[in-house]
């Protein structure tokens, strides 16, 4: 019944209870949502680093204008550029290179159901060290000519046939989500992409009209050998190979790290502000709620409720409303971010990868616990005060 009385008190004042629940929901929404957003951006960045997977990226000089390269690699805007294969060979002959592999870019023309072009990335299975390990997780076999592997965000499934520049391609696998632009790209082996490039040239749909698809590459990825510094090798390439630009991948994503830091700082400040305000409002709300019921608490004392009983009644009301609010807020945060993660990713313009279900659960539980702690702490002040009321004085004065 005593627990029941707390429930009855909450039900008897639906507006006050509603405000308490709303407030605690807001607190848990902020902390759970904010934490998940930051965690998602962090794992997105980690995922991007893993996908880039190379120390140095070399692109033709025309593409070195940072915007062009970042557009493709970081923002995921489809694009392409080429350089003669001789430059690749020249780079490969330099010292300090442990692993080297070329990649080939092509953007699909608007075709099929949707007008948005898709980035197609070709890799050389013989030398590749960045994409293959990732594909292995979804597809163990060797890619045949005409096979493609699609990113997680593409609305295509294993067994589907997609047409690019009139060439039918068979979807052999769908990749795990990475939260980066790679999720909306299509991957294929060097033979297939050369076919596609040739076909795009034939149809006059490639901006580069005078290239020979058999003797061009788009980028060169390099892992530096032990005993050499990345900087050294990069400078070496920039000095000795003409018309290319070597960049450290670490530097490429420094912009992303910076905006990630900015965004997460902003979220942190927001959480602190909302919590600061929220806790003050909770303090006031409980204090008002207890003050206007002083006579009721005095009456309970008269009937034989101990100081502890009164304090526990206040605490129960706080825990019940706090729990309801915290669970609501957390569910809204998790569901909202899960449902709209793609829209959020677009808005942020940062790689965004939701943490695992287990981590989401953990974040939720911690958020609920944090709100409960804040709520009960705010209520504890009022609970302590009400347990110390002078019953006789309250009953006597009509205050």
């Amino acid at each position: 019944m005593r627990q029941n009385l707390a429930v009855r008190n909450l039900k008897a004042k639906p507006v006050r209870t509603g405000i308490l629940i709303l407030l605690t929901a807001l607190l848990s929404l902020m902390i759970c949502g904010g934490t998940l957003l930051v965690a998602s951006m962090r794992s997105g960045l980690a995922s991007l680093e893993a996908r880039l997977g190379a120390d140095i990226m070399v692109v033709p000089y025309e593409a070195k204008t940072k915007s062009n390269l970042e557009n493709i690699v970081l923002q995921g805007n489809p694009g392409y550029f080429y350089m003669p294969v001789e430059r690749y060979e020249k780079i490969a002959s330099l010292d300090g290179i442990a692993q080297i592999s070329a990649q080939f870019y092509l953007a699909s023309a608007s075709s099929g159901c949707c007008s948005i072009p898709v980035q197609i990335i070709g890799f050389d299975p013989e030398t590749d060290f960045t994409i293959t390990p990732w594909i292995r997780r979804s597809y163990a076999k060797q890619l045949q000519t005409g096979d493609i592997v699609v990113g997680n965000d593409l609305n295509a499934f294993v067994g589907d046939t997609l047409q690019f520049y009139g060439v039918n391609c068979h979807v052999a696998a769908k990749l795990d989500k990475t939260g980066t632009y790679y999720d909306s790209a299509v991957f294929t082996s060097v033979e297939t992409i050369r076919q596609l490039i040739a076909s795009s040239l034939e149809k006059g749909m490639n901006d580069f009209s005078d290239i020979d698809p058999q003797s061009v590459v788009s980028t060169v990825l390099i892992n530096v050998a032990e005993g050499y510094s990345t900087e050294e090798v990069m400078n070496d390439i920039n000095i000795h190979v003409k018309k290319v630009k070597a960049v450290q991948t670490k530097e490429m994503i420094s912009g992303i790290s910076a905006s990630l830091k900015g965004t997460s700082d902003l979220i942190g400040v927001l959480i602190v502000v909302v919590w600061g305000l929220g806790v003050v409002i909770l303090l006031l709300a409980f204090s008002m709620s207890v003050n206007e019921r002083k006579r009721e608490f005095a009456a309970l004392r008269v009937i034989g409720a101990s100081q502890r009983n009164l304090a526990s009644l206040v605490m129960q009301e706080a825990v019940l409303s706090g729990l309801a609010g915290a669970v609501c807020g957390t569910v809204i945060a998790v569901m909202g971010i899960t449902a709209f993660h793609t829209a959020i990713e677009e808005q942020l313009g940062l790689p965004f990868l939701m943490p695992s279900l287990g981590k989401q659960m953990l974040t939720s539980i911690i958020s609920i616990a944090a709100v409960l702690v804040a709520g009960t702490a705010a209520a504890a002040v009022s609970a302590y005060r009400i347990s110390r009321i002078d019953t006789a004085l309250i009953l006597r004065g009509e205050q």
Partner: protein, 227 residues
């Protein structure tokens, strides 16, 4: 059970502060006898309510003791004292003391449900009390819809529901019309004759005729009224 006080004294600090103190109750040796309705009269501010609160265990005395039967009220820690009050002492305080989230019947049963659950016989008794006090039809109504007099009668039913051995009523008829005043006086009287020790603080003229013992309080000093 009798309630016995020994050199019971209550002083309050003056609002203005300092060492200046105001004595609400002069040292008092007094026994509230079971089986009797004791009526306590006196002007407001004479210390009547202070005495009642002291007897109820709601206000720590400055000096002296209150014994209820063999139990020294103020020697107990709060939890035991509260449980003891719940079991043995019923107080009908001044003013409104309803719990507004519960309906009338639930309010009446609250002394029982506070630490347990009400059985069918207890619920039946609560309904019977409401019947006696003329508010049986209000059992399912929320207190916010009741008049002052009805709330007062609800508080009286709540005080009776545990069939307490000690009943302390502070102006229990303040909001009632003549007819209901009579009902309350008679209820208190019959509770006394069933063995309870009953103290009623009142201004009401005509209360004297119900009194088994009539006392008067004046400036913190209690005396038996002369017949």
């Amino acid at each position: 059970m009798n309630v016995t006080t020994k050199q019971l004294t209550k002083e309050f600090p003056r609002k203005s502060g300092g060492s200046n103190r105001f004595t609400a109750l002069q040292p008092l040796d007094f026994t509230l006898e079971s089986g009797k309705l004791t009526v306590l009269m006196g002007r407001s501010g004479s210390g009547k309510s202070t005495l009642l609160n002291l007897l109820a265990g709601l206000m720590h005395p400055t000096a002296g003791t209150v014994m209820v039967g063999e139990t020294d009220l103020y020697a107990m820690p709060d939890r035991e004292l509260s449980a003891f009050r719940n079991q043995h002492i019923s107080v009908i305080p001044q003013g409104q003391t309803a719990i507004y989230s519960l309906n009338v019947l639930e309010n009446v049963l609250l002394p029982i449900t506070l630490n347990g659950t009400a059985g069918t016989s207890e619920i039946a008794y609560a309904k019977q009390l409401l019947e006696q006090l003329g508010i049986a039809e209000l059992a399912d109504v929320q207190p916010s819809e009741l008049s002052g007099g009805e709330l007062r009668r609800m508080a009286i039913a709540r005080a009776f529901v545990r069939r307490p051995e000690i009943i302390l009523a502070d102006e229990p008829t303040a909001d009632l019309d003549d007819e209901n005043t009579k009902i309350v006086f008679e209820s208190l009287k019959s509770a006394a004759h069933n063995g309870a020790a009953v103290l009623m603080v009142t201004h009401e003229n005509g209360a004297e005729q119900y009194a088994d013992r009539l006392c008067v309080m004046k400036s913190g000093v209690l005396t038996d009224a002369e017949e």
